[in-house]
Symmetry: C2
Subunit: 436 residues, 2 copies
């Protein structure tokens, strides 16, 4: 994790937070990391704001899980009501899962006809890989250099961003992330060529190709939206070699990109499987895999998949409220408009700050690529980290992405307004000036 708290710094914290840091270490162990040089203790949240134990307000430009806004009253109400009525599993009949599935599938291409529910994006990635292995008979997966698709054993083996101590699967092949800023030539052709070479390498090792997995915004590779359409040639190469195209929509999905409900739609690609998670229930654990029906024919009949909590009435109530709010509050349109203003604002800032090598994004998912030198485009990871921590002091929650951590990751809840954006841009400009 790029911007993790160093426990050695606990002595400098106030009593309350030092005590919490110590109890975390004692109870949860060293696997639990905290954000920032100085961790934050939040006690409440609303909309695009969180409040710490001293009542201080923070502007959230990072959290995509509370996607329709922290503690959105319609989600709170829908979940609370359902909790008191019924919460059971999918082996009894229930209407709300059918109504929701109908509405969810209507947002996807016509070729995607079924949806299966999980509790997390990791479970969704894992299930999509299970289906892909079953359908193709292959085991070889191709992912990008700093991809993250989830934490299960199988998915972590296809998530190089987890670092050198987490083994990549022997059947996993890694291709460079499609970085338009640092790639010469036609990005789609270059990337498709790299994927085709990886397929050939799998074959050379006697491994049958199963599928290609990509988040269309390459969120953990450094936020790489690329030009619209550049993923089309990749999808063609994948199909040509008998593999499936898995669109990991855990981050780009649910109106984040502004242009569309789903990230892959910017590219005119129709995936075989679509995975979803994080924003789907605004924090209530729900994820899913949507698929071409023919892929689930044998898998559904002859294998077994049952997720105890997946698609329960309470989880579906949360997901339904999220869909309703996205529609009623026109959050996709807001994401497009405010995201555009944010891009323009930061691009204007770049005229004064040579450290900003590139600004890119889709809707309310924006990356700012810091470089040491605009000519060499060498990543400036140290600056990324300093900006993240300085903004935290100014009570703006933000993070960094990419293998080097040099890309500022801007991904606020979708109701982020033009006024919120102005406030954020002012504080970012101030920070860049201070650190210049």
């Amino acid at each position: 994790m790029v911007n993790a708290f160093d426990p050695a710094g606990a002595a400098a914290l106030d009593d309350s937070r030092r005590d919490m840091v110590e109890r975390r270490a004692r109870l949860l162990g060293p696997g639990y990391k905290l954000f920032y040089d100085e961790p934050v203790h939040f006690v409440r949240a609303q909309g695009v704001h969180l409040y710490d134990a001293d009542g201080k307000e923070y502007l959230d430009v990072y959290n995509n899980v509370p996607s329709v806004g922290h503690c959105h009253p319609r989600v709170v109400e829908a979940v609370s009501r359902q909790l008191g009525v019924l919460n059971t599993h999918t082996r009894y009949l229930h209407d709300s899962i059918l109504q929701y599935s109908e509405q969810l599938l209507a947002t996807l291409p016509a070729e995607i006809g079924h949806v299966m529910y999980t509790c997390t994006g990791s479970e969704a990635s894992d299930l999509a890989m299970r289906i892909t292995r079953h359908v193709t008979g292959g085991t070889g997966f191709i992912v990008t250099a700093n991809a993250y698709h989830g934490h299960t054993i199988a998915v972590s083996q296809a998530s190089p961003s987890m670092g050198e101590h987490v083994p990549l699967g022997v059947h996993t092949r890694v291709v460079p992330a499609p970085d338009a800023y640092r790639t010469e030539g036609d990005l789609g052709a270059v990337f498709a060529g790299q994927v085709e070479a990886a397929i050939a390498d799998l074959r050379r090792h006697g491994i049958r190709f199963a599928g290609f997995i990509a988040d269309s915004l390459f969120s953990s590779d450094g936020i790489l939206p690329g030009p619209a359409g550049f993923l089309k040639p990749v999808a063609e190469v994948v199909r040509k070699h008998g593999g499936l195209y898995i669109a990991d929509e855990v981050q780009p999905g649910f109106a984040r990109t502004g242009d569309a409900m789903w990230g892959f739609q910017r590219h005119g690609v129709t995936p075989d499987l679509v995975t979803m998670g994080k924003p789907m229930g605004n924090g209530i654990p729900i994820g899913g895999v949507a698929a071409r029906p023919e892929l689930l024919e044998d898998f559904g009949r002859n294998t077994r998949y049952f997720n105890t909590f997946g698609g329960s009435p309470v989880c579906i109530a949360a997901a339904q409220a999220v869909l309703d709010v996205i529609r009623d509050e026109k959050l996709q349109e807001n994401s497009r408009i405010v995201g555009r203003a944010m891009l323009d604002g930061i691009q204007a800032m770049a005229e004064k700050h040579a450290a900003i090598g590139d600004v890119r994004g889709a809707g309310l998912f924006v990356g700012v690529d810091f470089v040491k030198d605009r000519a060499t485009r060498e990543p400036d990871a140290a600056l990324g980290l300093r900006v993240v921590n300085r903004l935290r002091e100014k009570r703006v929650l933000i993070s960094a992405s990419g293998k080097e951590g040099n890309v500022l990751k801007i991904r606020p809840p979708l109701p982020f307004s033009l006024a919120d954006n102005d406030r954020f841009l002012g504080l970012l400009a101030e920070t860049l000036a201070e650190l210049a």
Copy 2:
């Protein structure tokens, strides 16, 4: 699934349910199975009862997820309150996860000092296997013949109950389930010998032994509590060969067995890792892995595990309410007392019904083993299925377990009272008489 609805029977259903069955097939695909020859459509639930669309009441002797009772008001209230205040992830400080972890760990042996949170039991099994692989450097796991530990790719490879179309891992070894009713000699010694032979077989194939995973009630193997203490020799064999002992407490945990909070405690075993899930949040998705701290030392520092929704304030609020209710309503004691009365009642029934070969259980988890012949002890799967469906007609929810499905699986919410038990025993006796 033993007692699944056959979609060919949809024509016989009333319009409303036939329509729902058809929409399920169209939207969710063939992977979604329904219980019973005639599926049930529930619209609300309270305590140990569910109500169908016609307002008819069903007695629940099956569902262990709403473990403190369907829609328990304290869980509803705690979750609803927290939903409106804050729901974020564990990379900020929050107090409730620390308070809950302290209380949860206090119920476990002193050697188990850390807990990590997931959203499901499957994720917990997967994480426990990931930790075990990391710590031991091994990949070989040993499980019982009809075990089910979860649905991820890695965990399904160690879940033989998923059937022949779901591949077992090449590094998985399967031992017979410890069936005291059908095993001659000392069960502990026999079972430990089988596990030791499996370890030798792994070595013979050049596979390093990682761990042994067992649900102490062998829930999907046919509910096999066995004599208290019989798992001790197995744990010794596992340790002798450098493996870890993983107690899968997804089903026996949280006071189900009546004797103790955790199933392994009946056996005087101290596991290396303990996995939990289903009843933990009374239906709100939460699971966890508790571990000896030394096992998480390198794993926590050098690898990466982050579960976006795991341990969130809302999930923890549900789990805290469940712990509080178990304590305040003395549900462990209730499980012990009512479970005992249930065992005695069914044992008395066995005097009149030769089809009951064995009755066994721990607390409110009871198995009734139907046989064609008491001398041969040959399982009578057909009878199990007929009892399940006849009881459903009498509005009692129940299921069957074991490879053959001949074991009636009785596992009601923990507030199941002596009066509920009398009602259930009466209907069970009536059913057995009718089917005799």
